[in-house]
Amino acid sequence: MTRLVYFAWVRERIGKGEEDIDLPADVTTGAALLSYLKTLGDGYAHALEHESVIRIAINHEHVEHDEPIAGAREIALFPPMTGG
C-alpha cells in the first residue's frame, strides 16, 4: 500500500485529502502514477487533466515526474505553490 496525499484544488477535485492505495506493478514513476489515477474516476481525471502542472513530492521532497516511486512511503500531488 502506498499513501497518497492531495492538496488545494487537487484535493478538492479528487474529493479527499488522502488515501492508501495498491498500485499496479507497472506504475513505476510519478508520470505513470498520474496516468493511472486518471483512470479511477471523473474527479481524478479533472484534478490531473493538465499533468505538467501537477507537482509531485515523495516522502516530503519535490521530485520530477520521471522519478521512480518504488519504496515511497508517501506521495503527494498538488498544484503550483502560492505561499509567502
Binding site: 513530492a57 503527494a76 498544484p79 505561499g83
Partner: protein, 157 residues
Amino acid sequence: MAGAAPAPVIVRVQRDDFDAAAETARLVAGRAAAGAIVSFTGLCRDEGGRLSALELEHYPGMAEAEIERICRTAVTRFSLLGIAAIHRIGRIAPGENIVLVIAAAPHRRAAFDGASFVMDYLKTAAPFWKKEHFADGSEGGWVAAKDSDDTALAKWS
C-alpha cells in the same frame, strides 16, 4: 570561528500571529557579531476591497522541512548568523500578517540577500496554497502561481 555557536535556524508554521520585534530580539540575542538584520513581513492585501480573507493551506511536515532546507541553504550561501522563517496558516484577513523572514549577518548585503533568497524560494517551493474569500460572501478560487515568482529565482542561479 572556533567556539562560535552554529547559526540558529528557526522555522515555524502556525495559526497564531507572530511578533516581528520579539522574534528579531530572540534571533540576535547574544550574537554581537550581527551588524545587520533584515526583516520581511508579508501581509494579506484587501485587493481593492474585493477580498475578505485568504485561507492558507499547507502540507504538514513537508512545509516545515522545505522551509528549513531553504533556510539552511541561505545560511551557507550568505554566511548568515541566523535566520527565522514563520508562516501562518488558516483564515487570514486583510491587514494581517502571513509570513515573516528575518536574516542576521555581519553586514547588510548578506542580510538583504539572505532574506530575499528565502522569500523567493519559499514562494515557489514551500507547499502552501492560498484560497480567496470575497467580501460579498462568495468563495473565490485558488490563487494562481505567478510566472514572476519563477523568474525571481533566476537571479540566484
